[in-house]
């Protein structure tokens, strides 16, 4: 991640725009990490510095997202390279899991426990005192809106409830780093929105949240930055818009809504950075593809100033995660 690691809105942590402002002891660091399962590649030569905030891992199935997460949590050991989480090596679980919570994808639990017992039992395993464990359990259940259901056996939970109780267990000891593997799976739209809001709140409190998700528009909505993975390699990383800007071989597509799109087309067409201008089907807009969006916006400013064409709106069409994903990884994974 090379630039812009701005915090979430209403952040209590001072906003530091450059990653270089963070020390390694505040970041998740992958130093030339590879993981092979025998002959099969998990991830290859990954070097990352992940600052606080929400970072999403995006990629098709088998891209290496879960491998990356399991490596971060020490469930897997790297074949090569070194990983530290806030300065702690991942082979020291005694220190690591005081600061880290991991909500895995595995939809399984110790049998016969209620949600409350499940969370409390593992807080006790952490070494938390009994009374404190009870308090923390309540806080965690409240955060995922499962206070009532917490008294029921988990065997009777719906998929969404199981997902939430796992999330509660991962946040119960109030970690500084949370790793969440597909945390929105199985949640209904209402709970999804609540959960995303919770993530944003946790990020605003200065936590690291590493989230893998298949739902690109949700990732786009909640992430401060993304890491795009494909076939075990990091294809791109950073702020979505920053990543999109870097893709100079892919001209930026912009839709301009205006009253005289044909006239505007004539104006923009002779610019050397504009590679395509096409009228919208409803003839009230113009699609423009440009290699230099900054120069294009400057030019539009002068058009507006002249007052001959009335421009209603300007919107980049492919400046989102879906487009970036499509360009870098291809259509194959875009829906996965």
């Amino acid at each position: 991640m090379n630039e812009s690691t701005s915090q979430s809105e209403s952040g209590q942590v001072p906003i530091r725009n450059s990653q270089s402002e963070f020390r390694n002891s505040e970041m998740i660091v992958f130093d030339d990490v590879s993981k092979f399962y025998g002959e099969i590649l998990g991830i290859n030569r990954v070097s990352l510095h992940i600052a606080p905030g929400i970072t999403s891992l995006v990629g098709p199935n088998g891209a290496g997202k879960s491998t990356l997460m399991n490596l971060m949590t020490g469930l897997l050991r790297p074949s090569r390279g070194r990983i530290t989480i806030l300065g702690i090596p991942t082979d020291q679980p005694e220190q690591l899991f005081r600061k880290l919570g991991y909500c895995t994808q595995f939809d399984s639990f110790p049998r016969g426990l209620t949600g409350e017992e499940f969370i409390r039992s593992f807080l006790l395993v952490h070494g938390v005192e009994r009374r404190k464990a009870k308090e923390l359990t309540q806080v965690a259940l409240e955060r995922v809106s499962l206070v009532e259901a917490g008294k029921r056996k988990m065997a009777a939970y719906s998929k969404g409830m199981r997902q939430r109780i796992r999330l509660a267990q991962a946040i119960a000891h109030q970690p500084e780093v949370m790793i969440l593997d597909e945390p929105l799976n199985g949640l209904d739209p209402m709970v999804r929105a609540e959960t995303i809001a919770l993530f944003r709140k946790l990020a605003a409190e200065g936590l690291h949240l590493i989230i893998s998700s298949h739902i690109l528009h949700e990732v786009d909505m909640m992430s401060d930055r993304v890491i795009l993975l494909n076939n075990g390699y990091v294809v791109a990383e950073g702020n979505v818009h920053g990543v999109r800007d870097e893709m100079q071989d892919r001209p930026m597509q912009i839709l301009i809504r205006c009253d005289k799109p044909a006239k505007l087309a004539a104006r923009v067409f002779d610019k050397d950075h504009v590679v395509e201008a096409r009228l919208h089907d409803d003839r009230l807009g113009l699609f423009v593809k440009t290699r230099d969006s900054d120069r294009f916006y400057l030019m539009l400013n002068s058009v507006v100033a002249e007052g001959e064409i009335n421009i209603e709106s300007i919107a980049p069409v492919d400046d989102d995660l879906s487009a970036v994903y499509q360009y870098l990884i291809g259509s194959e994974g875009s829906n996965s």
Binding site: L75, L76, R77, F97, T104, P110, S121, L124, Q169
Partner: protein, 289 residues
């Protein structure tokens, strides 16, 4: 001269004290979770059935004395029990019971895909091994010493009530009963450690369990040196009533209790150290990308 009497220690040399209180809390928490699983999960049904195997025939025999001279003579009951205990309780029930309990401590969690909850806790893996082993040990000891006690009482009391009362209250009965219980406990200690490690190293632990079962049963045919590489040899050395192993048995001096007991405990500790090292480097791969 006010020469420096202050003991200056370079920073970072003194290690912080070991967090025994924390470890003990963690062991207790793991123990509680595991003991509940051992006694109340679906897997424990098989364990209860196994523990009942030696009891059922004795309950059926209780209302009447079976034919045969040996059953009419109270003096021969200690030999009957010694054979029953050695053949059925120790070599079969305790052996397979420990196999089931201890192999499942880790393997069961892997099958249930719930081991990662422990691995994602700030617990030294050695503490995890200790907590789980302790829970297995307590479970097996409660079940199988229970079986041992019940079996002995059910053999003696229904057929010769007054002689049996005297035997247990005034004679050697109580001593024998406690010795058998002690042997059962030691068997749980030894077999437990072995099966815990087997559950960690083998995807299908049944095969090594059967190999060990064969090894333990064929122990009587082995030369004295090989006999000592088994758990059963040390346990048999402790039995209060020696049982003949048949005409083909290779006779070897029993190991004295002061060697047998510490040897078993020492081997158990070594095996648990191996288990701890194994689990320290263990990865969880029951899910893919």
């Amino acid at each position: 001269m006010s020469s420096s009497t202050i003991d200056v220690k370079p920073e970072g040399i003194e290690k912080p004290p070991l967090p025994w209180a924390l470890w003990w809390r963690q062991i207790r928490a793991i123990f509680r979770l595991e003991i509940e699983k051992n006694f109340l999960s679906r897997r424990s049904i098989l364990l209860y059935l196994l523990a009942l195997i030696p009891i059922v025939p004795l309950v059926l025999l209780a209302p009447f004395t079976p034919p045969g001279d040996e059953w009419q003579d109270f003096g021969r009951y200690n030999m009957i029990f010694a054979v029953y205990y050695g053949g059925l309780i120790l070599r079969t029930v305790v052996f397979f019971g420990c196999a089931w309990i201890f192999m499942n401590l880790f393997r069961g969690d892997m099958i249930d895909r719930s081991l990662h909850f422990y691995f994602l806790s700030p617990v030294r893996r050695e503490i995890l091994v200790a907590g789980k082993y302790l829970s297995g040990l307590v479970t097996s000891i409660i079940l199988f010493t229970g079986t041992t006690i019940l079996a002995m009482l059910l053999l003696y009391l229904p057929h010769f009530p007054s002689e049996s009362s005297r035997f247990f209250l005034d004679g050697h009965g109580l001593g024998q009963l406690l010795t058998y219980c002690g042997i059962t406990m030691l068997a749980c200690v030894g077999y437990g450690a072995f099966f815990l490690v087997v559950g960690l190293f083998f995807r299908n632990p049944i095969i090594p369990a059967i190999v060990l079962y064969g090894w333990e049963w064929l122990n009587f045919l082995m030369p004295p040196l090989l006999k000592k590489i088994s758990v059963i040899h040390y346990l048999q050395s402790l039995t209060p009533v020696p049982v003949s192993e048949g005409p083909f048995a290779v006779v070897a001096e029993p190991t004295p209790a002061w060697i047998a007991v510490p040897s078993l405990v020492l081997v158990t500790v070594l095996v648990l150290v191996i288990a701890s090292r194994r689990i320290r480097h263990m990865e969880i791969r029951y899910g893919g990308d």
